[in-house]
């Protein structure tokens, strides 16, 4: 609890937490569109491709002003995205290979530039390579302001074009037929993603930026089927991960913030995957078990019904029919009795009127089984 209070009192921690939260929020919102459009890994490519742009901006201006470096990085990321599209349009190279080629060649070039700068003994270069890991601990108030302005701009744009982006995410062909400038909108969305990635670079760094776009959206997807809710949840999850990552890393020395933000996000994702209502894997599993149990009992009743019709519903007969030990057959009959479907009788068991009725219903259902199963499942 005292750690939680630190967020209000400790200047550094407050900046770090605010910056990370802002990143999580912007990444979360834009990630929704990336994930829905199956462009999840574009963020990863953009983040890697930004490095040469950052280095070139530094070489050209000689200054380490964050905004200038971010503009350089953004331009490089944008160029890489454009090249991926060009390669996809004009060759038969699969999409993932095109992404991989741009990611690694841009990054390789960036690393080369980075060492080139380092070897040129430029005194002010120190810290440039922190864009690779991100250095959340060094976020200061002016960075938070930058993030907020840039992120706010991105979020505002999403708000303005919400209807168009929604259509683009779910039915681009329809959007096109409505006369929407699909290509322009695509470019706008990509540019916004570039913006989000640039904001994230300083916090979680190149390598981990991918997660901050994908994981919040993937987690939010588990809770809802509505785009607006998904965007809200994704932003919330991203911000939560940002703040908790910052808090955890403040509890001890040598705990890097970026990886902790990502791991917090992974934890949120896992919880969502397993426990979200409707789509949660745990509920799914439970439902399957319940369903299995019901089907087992119904089969049992049908077997009992057949034997009953021949007047031989005894544990022995049931055991023989179902190829199971008599003891199991007895248990089964007991289960049916507890449901009120059979009752004891001098010659063994008989079906109760409820059981009779139920068995009849099941048989009726099975006669039209193929249709019923498809329709009801």
């Amino acid at each position: 609890m005292s750690d939680l209070l630190l967020i209000f009192t400790d200047y550094t921690l407050r900046n770090v937490a605010l910056g990370s939260a802002m990143l999580g929020m912007v990444g979360g919102v834009l990630g929704v569109f990336a994930v829905l459009r199956r462009q999840s890994l574009l963020g990863d490519v953009l983040a890697h491709a930004a490095l040469p742009g950052i280095c070139l901006a530094f070489i050209l201006t000689g200054a380490k002003a964050p905004l200038i470096l971010l503009v350089g990085g953004g331009l490089a990321g944008w160029l890489a995205a454009w090249l991926v599209l060009a390669v996809l349009r004009h060759s038969r190279l699969p999409e993932d290979s095109a992404l991989g080629v741009m990611l690694s060649s841009f990054f390789g070039f960036g690393v080369a530039l980075l060492t080139f700068i380092q070897h040129s003994n430029n005194a002010s270069q120190a810290g440039l390579d922190q864009y690779i890991f991100g250095q959340a601990a060094t976020i200061v108030a002016s960075d938070v302001l930058n993030f907020t302005v840039l992120g706010g701009l991105a979020l505002l744009t999403v708000g303005l074009f919400y209807k168009e982006f929604k259509l683009l995410a779910f039915d681009p062909a329809y959007a096109h037929s409505l006369g929407l400038p699909v290509r322009g909108l695509n470019t706008l969305l990509t540019s916004l993603t570039v913006l989000a990635v640039m904001v994230g670079l300083q916090t979680v760094g190149v390598v981990l930026m991918a997660a901050m776009l994908i994981a919040p959206a993937a987690a939010a997807r588990q809770w809802t089927d509505r785009l607006s809710h998904m965007i809200g949840l994704s932003a919330l999850f991203g911000a939560m991960a940002g703040v908790s990552g910052a808090l955890i890393s403040a509890t001890r020395e040598n705990l890097p913030t970026g990886p902790l933000v990502v791991l917090s996000m992974s934890a949120i994702l896992l919880v969502s995957l397993f426990f979200a209502p409707l789509r949660g894997l745990v509920w799914d599993w439970a439902r399957t078990q319940l369903h299995r149990h019901r089907v087992r009992l119904e089969r049992l009743l049908l077997d009992a019904h057949v034997l009953h019709a021949h007047g031989t519903l005894t544990p022995q007969a049931l055991a023989e029919r179902r190829r199971e030990p008599v003891a199991v057959a007895l248990q089964n009959l007991e289960a049916l009795r507890s449901l009120g479907w059979v009752q004891e009788h001098p010659q063994g068991f008989i079906l109760t009127p409820t059981g009779e009725q139920k068995a009849h219903e099941l048989e009726q259902a099975m006669r039209v089984l193929p249709h019923r199963v498809e329709g009801s499942s």
Binding site: S97, F106, I214, A218, L263
Partner: protein
């Protein structure tokens, strides 16, 4: 031992080993899984480092990497199979998480040891000459041994299972029907990718391994449609990138691995623009030539209907062409010997008349 030679040969071995397995990743549309694996080997290496008691031994590292690589593959498949997350998103979720675990472990437990993050991310092939092992009384660079064995291993894998790999890559359904155990082959391939990643870790680093695994095969993919040719070309591009990248790095005093990846990227750009099969510029040039050819045939066929030579002005009005285009078309027809220019205008030659009266062949 000559330091240049050690570095260059190491780079060639890394790129060859990577190209051999990377080609199948590209063909199977799993290129980005290699990105995931190369990041995920980090926790594997940390684990091995810890298990082997702080030694930087090769064998535990290989085992740790294989475990981490397979864990990546299994996790991605599991996530995809739950149906809750698409495949690309699954990749983008799994590897940052594993990588974060690795980074966290390094900063918590191995802060001041050799396993520093710079080396992990970029690697430093320039150190290759300093790590040597004594073998039969001779000092041999460790990287030669490690990468040499891995190259050999990958080569053997490709040669021994060539038929199976080919079938499983292009027709997994048929491969399964024939009982080729595509699953085993798949995990075998992923194990080798993990091995190669960790083997190259010290030399080129986590992220640049991806460059060696993907770029040369992708370049070769643009240049040929035949698997053996693609494998050979991928190895060739890797070797060229290693050599030229090293030279450039020395010249510019920049990261060797980074420069090699840059050169590989340039090779890809060249293949994309100039590939004889489907290069961007080659295709455009071919289209332009075909357009002129068709226009020239059209022009000659049109002239053949006139008994008199037709003035160029009339042709321009007839076809709605601009003078520059007509000039190009005329040039084309002149070259083919279908046309002659007389004072009154354009007139078909005997050859041109024969051509236009022959059935129009659409595929010359």
């Amino acid at each position: 031992m000559n330091a240049d030679l050690v570095i260059i040969l190491t780079a060639i071995l890394v790129s060859t080993a990577s190209a051999l397995v990377g080609s199948f990743l590209v063909l199977r549309r799993m290129a980005l899984l290699s990105d995931a694996i190369s990041h995920a080997v980090l926790p594997g290496i940390v684990l091995a480092y810890w298990l082997s008691g702080g030694e930087r031994a090769t064998l535990p590292a290989l085992l740790g990497a294989a475990a981490a690589g397979l864990a990546t593959v299994v996790l991605v498949e599991w996530l995809t199979r739950t149906g809750r997350v698409k495949n690309d998103a699954a990749i983008g979720i799994v590897f940052p998480a594993l990588f974060s675990l690795g980074v966290l472990a390094v900063s918590l437990f191995f802060r001041n040891v050799h396993l520093d993050m710079d080396a992990v991310l970029y690697g430093e092939i320039a150190y290759a000459p300093f790590n040597t092992l004594s073998l039969w009384g001779r000092e041999v660079p460790e990287s030669w041994l490690v990468m040499g064995s891995l190259t050999l291993l990958n080569l053997l894998f490709v040669l021994l299972f060539y038929k199976e790999l080919k079938l499983a890559t292009f027709d997994p359904g048929l491969a399964a029907t024939l009982g080729f155990a595509p699953g085993a082959l798949y995990y075998g391939l992923m194990t080798l990718v993990s091995f190669t990643s960790v083997g190259a870790f010290q030399s080129v680093g986590a992220i640049l391994i991806v460059a060696f695994l993907i770029i040369p095969p992708a370049t070769a993919y643009l240049l040929t449609q035949r698997l053996p040719v693609m494998l050979a070309l991928a190895v060739g591009v890797g070797v060229v990138s290693s050599l030229a990248g090293y030279a450039l790095a020395i010249w510019l005093d920049a990261s060797i691995a980074g420069m090699m990846a840059t050169v590989a990227g340039l090779c890809f750009a060249l293949a994309f623009l100039f590939s004889p099969v489907e290069g961007y510029l080659t295709t455009r040039l071919r289209r332009e030539r075909q357009r002129l050819e068709v226009a020239a045939r059209l022009l000659v066929a049109h002239l053949a209907h006139h008994s008199q030579p037709v003035p160029e002005q009339e042709v321009l009005e007839e076809f709605g062409w601009n003078p520059r285009f007509l000039g190009q078309v005329r040039e084309k027809a002149l070259q083919a010997g279908w046309l002659e220019v007389v004072r009154e205008g354009l007139r078909p030659t005997a050859r041109g008349l024969a051509m236009s009266s022959a059935r129009l062949e659409l595929n010359p």
